[in-house]
Amino acid sequence: MCRKDVDVKRNVLVFGVMVVGIALLLWAGWHNLRERRKAMQEAEARHVVLTPAKPGDTAGLPAADDSGMPHLRGKVAPDFTLATLDGKKVSLSDFKGRPVLVNFWATWCAPCKVEMPWFEEFQKQYAAQGFEILGLTDDADAGNEAIAKVVKKSGVTYPILLTDGKVQKAYGGLDYLPVSFYVDRNGVVVEETAGLGSKDEIEAHIKKAIASGAAPGTGGQ
């Protein structure tokens, strides 16, 4: 066999090995792609979205942004009448002419329980300016005993109200907690927050609600 024939055979062998190698790579890529798509479909079928869709689909309710936060800033706070733990009825309109913090919370919400003692402190601090806080429990099914336990542990003395399903919708759906609305003396929401903020931020919002609106005795919810 001449040298040229040997070279040709070697080249054919090298080429053959390359083709086989590339074919294996292609197959592996295709197989991997198919498995990943399958896994993604399975995962998609099983996932639970914790940040639900915008609640603005329902007519008459405040629309929310991508974070699920309703847009109530600059609007009149929706009125409500809810029961306290001992059955007493309390309405937002009862506090007409006074700045009010409407805070939604739940017993399972750890950050809610961080800020509740701060609220209590601020209510005492700004009581002279007429400032009031209403704590709306978003898990009424937890039972009065569990709710009362958290309230006691937090040292909260402001009214705790049991939600009725309607008030959450009126305030935008409340996909997560805590959510707070700072309402001025005219009943207008001057600030809204979702999630735990710093104590300083909360105090700044309270001051804003107190400063905003007409003097006591005029306007209101």
Binding site: D7, V8, N11, V12, V14, F15, M18, V19, I22, A23, L25, L26, G29, W30, N32, L33, R36, A39, M40, E42, A43, R46, H47, V48, V49, L50, T51, A106, T107, W108, C109, A110, P111, C112, K113, V114, E115, D139, A146, K149, V150, D175, Y176, L177, P178, A194, G195, L196, G197, S198, K199
Partner: protein, 159 residues
């Protein structure tokens, strides 16, 4: 010839590059917890531990099975009985300590990222499916989400 081989290789590699681009990361999901159902094989008639793999999406955490407050909702799996399978109590992983930045004194016990729950079983030979539900309650660094239930199916074969 070798040059021809490289040229052909280049042509053949082009579609591979396209496959790679199809694998580009999907848009980041907002937030969810995923259960990975994987077929498992155990020894028939012998005590074995099935593994249930979960993943909490980055940026979120869920309470562990033993949160530090009775008022927090623990992560818990409820499984339905399955024919030919005797299951013992579910074994949960230990959680990790977590505090919200605004209140470092309050310590929580949570799962984040991947966590695995073990289910000791003794099963008859054959294919089995155990259905159940993972109940959990998730939070991010500043807010919490209502409790959720995630359906799970444990698929395994005892040989």
């Amino acid at each position: 010839m070798i040059r021809l081989g490289f040229a052909l290789a280049g042509l053949l590699m082009a579609p591979l590059g396209q496959i790679g681009s199809l694998d580009a990361p999907a848009p980041k999901p907002k937030s969810y917890v995923v259960y990975s159902a994987e077929q498992q094989v155990i020894a028939a008639g012998k005590k074995s531990a099935l593994e249930l793999h979960f993943r909490v999406v980055d940026g979120f955490h869920v309470n562990s099975h033993t949160p530090k407050s009775e008022l927090l909702i623990p992560t818990q799996i409820v499984l339905q009985p399955a024919a030919g399978v005797k299951a013992d109590a579910v074994e949960y992983p230990t959680g990790t300590s977590y505090s919200f930045s605004f209140d470092p004194t309050e310590k929580l016990d949570v799962y984040s990222g991947a966590f695995t729950v073990k289910l000791p079983v003794v099963a008859e030979a054959g294919a089995h499916t155990i259905a159940g539900t993972l109940r959990y309650q998730a939070c991010d660094h500043a807010a919490c989400y209502p409790p959720k239930s995630l359906p799970v199916e444990v698929l395994f074969t005892a040989k």
